[in-house]
């Protein structure tokens, strides 16, 4: 490549990045990929975070409303969200809270739950991130609502705080029950 042409590399690189960002704008990261919304939860079989000898599979998430929260100790928003999850999990007896510990250090995750309270009835250790990938997780935290037929009905990206919970989850849960 001539020296002259090399000078155009920055602008070409920038335009490429701009195209990528344009693509990124075109989709809303908060929505479930259309491929997954209203589809069944993908099949999986993963060790239990707290009892690795036990396996959790998709069959354990049947016959009720499940709230699946994807979290990790390396994710600061998860730390922000955690106390609120602990609080609401006590308030919602007919929703089963499921934690998917995503690409995390298992030991750190156990300590985290032991110290700060465990809002989850079921804890899944997704060390290789395979389940997260199947769920279309872009980053933690993300939260899915699964209805009694095992269908994904909603996905929320980012922290669940009181406002998100009251405005989005409470009406949806009323609908799902």
């Amino acid at each position: 490549m001539s020296n002259r042409a090399k000078l155009f590399l920055p602008v070409v690189f920038f335009l490429g990045m701009l195209g990528l960002l344009l693509y990124g704008l075109g989709r809303n990261p908060g929505e479930v990929p259309s491929a997954l919304l209203n589809r069944a939860l993908p099949a999986f079989s993963k060790p239990d975070l707290l009892d690795p000898a036990r396996t959790v599979s998709v069959d354990d998430l049947r016959g009720g409303v499940f709230l699946v929260n994807v979290w990790a100790t390396w994710c600061p928003p998860c730390h922000v969200e955690h106390p609120y999850l602990v609080e609401i999990s006590g308030r919602e007896p007919d929703v089963t809270f499921v934690g998917v510990n995503y690409k995390d250090d298992v030991e750190a995750a156990r300590t985290f739950l032991a110290e700060r309270g465990n809002p989850f009835k079921i804890n899944i250790a997704d060390v290789d991130g395979r389940l997260g990938v199947d769920l279309g997780v872009a980053g933690a935290p993300e939260t899915f609502l699964i209805d009694a037929t095992g269908t994904i009905r909603y996905k929320h990206v980012g922290v669940i705080d009181n406002r998100v919970w009251q405005e989005t989850f409470v009406p949806l849960l009323a609908e799902l029950r």
């Binding site: 960002l21 990261p29 990929p33 491929a35 922000v80 609080e87 279309g136």
Partner: protein, 669 residues
């Protein structure tokens, strides 16, 4: 009435910004001094009207004017008054107004402190800054107007500022960060002016250096404040997460650091010219990219503002206009500003070139890691999303920085043009020996264990420190007495050494904290005691304490040392009334060599709580090191040569001209 006045001020500011972007530039093209001179009064007017607009928004917050939608969403009558003021930049619209105000302030500062610059350069620089300001004002007024009213049903109470932001660190973090981001627009504008005129000489580099140093120092402090905030406010003692928004603030910093060094070479030796210009364009472009990523919601992050695709599109168009056209201009005009001097394969120039390469490669790896989820999704589809976490960033970034630290220590002794290896060996063998010996011996003696990462980090830090000490010694070796000779070395020189010392301090802080922290999270009932690193922590239970707009559960922890009472700590858990959010407030005893960190976890019945007690050695050094770096940048800005050298000797001074130079000197000192 006041909000309408603010809105009107912003519209007038847009008009002035458009004039500022056109008239001086046309004047410069036609060599018309009257038109060129318009840049200065226009930038002053722009600054005044934006300040007025900002003041109107602050007035609406301080007077609880909930008819303004932005105030209603981000304030509350019970909010303490200083947080009402800080809430002005607590969300997207107001923080964008602050961004534009700071941009206009830098423009105004350039117009004040540029009395000795050729008028056509000033005209072009101010025009470029005017154009950027105009672009962001259009964005502000038409997609994100902070003065929009809720006239029909004005709420009686606001929904309060996000509790995470109700904190001193976060009230000062954005202004510093924006001062840094936006400050790089000055170097950007200088670079555009150089490309337009084809004039890029030592004088150009000398004008650009103090502005770049100042912006860089602000950005350093802004990033440091963000890190400090996450340390004490998120309640678990972490200080850096490689979160996308942290990354986008770090990328301009890395490129800005490269720019500072490359400008030095361009000024002293007249080489790296087109590279310097590219870095100046890149530093501000990365700041703009950061603004886009934070405000468009394109990448998920804890800091992200409310997502709005329309805003994203307008910002993307601005990016295309500002960055795209400047890089195109670079591609077309860069051959005009090529350097002609030569340098040897072992010279200070080469050391600084390697410094630049390492910094830019670090930036590129962080950019790749930040955008990778998006790239992956674009190729493999929405159902195949990935995320990139700290393991990637640590694995690529830490080795690059280790090499950089090694080169830093050596480069002080490299001479311009050509250095012999014998010269380096002669100067550095003792420094190398001492730093490796102490780097290995001290951790071994203190902890009794072999810990290679710690030893490497300490050796690198000492390598830098001993290098600085030796250089100071050598530079005064032939003078007597030494002290006046030392003080005569100049603020630029001390600025450099101080910033480099900051790097050494930061390395120690990061490594020692990561390896030697003790983190205990235990269930404690009132009366329970825990021993951590020579301190005894006794949990004395919790009580409920009302705050202005929250209710806190406040714990009491009595700390004693060797049986003697040492202090009482009060970590809190606050529930904010308006939003119902829970916020952890850690209590930290800050020390130079160690922090004691306590935070409340969750209640466990029977008055028992999970209590987090951390002993964090040298964590203060992380922020102290960053402060030293920023201090170095400030010292370099204050160097005399930026004030005196340029009083034009060839032009006979008119009374007005002499007055202007005098004013500039007074303001700068």
């Amino acid at each position: 009435m006041i909000p309408e006045l603010g809105n009107f001020a912003l519209m007038l500011a847009l008009g002035l910004a458009l004039l500022q972007s056109a008239l001086p530039l046309i004047g410069a093209a036609n060599q018309n001094p009257t038109w060129m001179a318009l840049g200065r009064p226009l930038s002053a007017g722009l600054f005044v009207f934006l300040l007025l607009g900002f003041g109107c928004l602050a007035y609406a917050f301080l007077h609880d004017d909930f008819s303004v939608a932005y105030v209603a969403r981000n304030s509350n009558t019970a909010l303490p008054v200083y947080y009402k003021f800080a809430a002005v930049w607590g969300a997207h619209e107001g923080s964008l107004l602050l961004w534009v105000l700071i941009l206009a302030s830098w423009g105004y500062a350039v117009s004040l402190f540029s009395q000795r610059l050729p008028l056509d350069i000033v005209a072009r620089v101010l025009a470029v800054m005017g154009l950027i300001t105009a672009g962001f004002l259009v964005f502000l007024l038409f997609t994100s107007n902070p003065f929009e009213r809720l006239l029909l049903n004005t709420p009686r109470e606001g929904t309060d500022l996000n509790p995470l932001l109700q904190d001193f660190g976060l009230t000062v973090h954005p202004p510093f960060l924006y001062m840094g981001y936006v400050g790089f627009s000055v170097a950007f504008a200088f670079a555009i002016a150089a490309l337009l005129t084809g004039k890029l000489d030592a004088a150009w580099a000398r004008w650009t250096r103090p502005w770049t140093n100042a912006a860089w120092a602000f950005l350093t402090i802004g990033i440091m404040l963000g890190s400090w905030w996450s340390y004490y406010e998120l309640g678990w003692g972490g200080w850096w997460f490689w979160d996308p928004v942290e990354n986008v603030s770090f990328m301009p910093w890395l490129v800005g650091t490269a720019l500072i060094h490359s400008l030095a070479v361009t000024e002293k030796r007249g080489v790296f010219k087109s590279w310097t210009v590219l870095l100046a364009l890149a530093a501000f472009s990365l700041s703009l990219l950061g603004a886009f990523i934070v405000r468009s919601g394109v990448i998920t992050s804890v800091h992200a503002f409310a997502v709005d695709p329309e805003r994203g599109m307008v910002l993307l168009a601005l990016l295309l206009l500002i960055i795209g056209s400047s890089l195109l201009l670079y591609a077309l005009r860069a051959p005009v500003v090529r350097g002609t001097a030569t340098y040897g394969a072992n010279s200070r120039e080469v050391f600084l070139l390697l410094n630049n390469l390492l910094l830019v490669v670090s930036m590129a790896t962080i950019l790749l890691g930040t955008l990778f989820p998006l790239i992956h999704e674009a190729i493999y589809g929405e159902a195949n999303r990935v995320s990139v976490g700290p393991p990637y960033f640590n694995a690529v970034f830490v080795p690059l920085m280790a090499i950089l630290a090694f080169l830093l220590g050596a480069s002080t002794f490299a001479r311009w043009k050509k250095t012999s290896f014998a010269h380096l060996r002669q100067n550095l063998s003792l420094v190398l020996l001492a730093s490796v010996a102490l780097g290995v011996a001290v951790p071994l003696a203190v902890t009794g264990g072999v810990n290679p990462p710690i030893m490497l980090a300490l050796a690198l830090a000492l390598w830098i420190v001993f290098g600085i000490a030796k250089d100071l010694w050598d530079k005064t070796a032939h003078r007597s007495p030494r002290l006046p000779a030392l003080l005569g070395l100049g603020r630029s020189y001390f600025g450099m050494q101080l910033a480099h010392l900051g790097v050494a301090v930061l390395i120690c802080g990061v490594c020692f904290t990561s390896h030697y922290s003790i983190e205990q999270d235990v269930r404690m009932s009132p009366g329970d005691e825990l021993d951590v690193s020579g301190f005894t922590f006794r949990f004395d239970g919790v009580e409920e304490v009302p705050g202005p707009n929250y209710t806190a559960v406040r714990g009491t922890i009595s700390v004693s040392r060797g049986g003697e009472p040492y202090m009482t700590m009060h970590p809190e858990k606050r529930t904010y009334h308006a939003r119902g959010d829970v916020q952890t407030e850690a209590d930290i005893d800050v020390g130079f060599f160690r922090d004691l960190f306590t935070a409340l976890g969750d209640p466990r019945g029977d008055e028992a709580w999970v209590v987090r007690i951390h002993f964090k050695p040298f964590v203060f050094w992380i922020w102290f090191g960053a402060l030293l770096m920023a201090g170095g940048g400030v010292l370099a800005v204050l160097d005399k040569r930026y004030r005196h050298r340029s009083i034009p000797a060839t032009h006979p001074q008119t009374a007005a001209g002499a007055g202007a130079v005098g004013t500039a000197g007074v303001i700068q000192s």
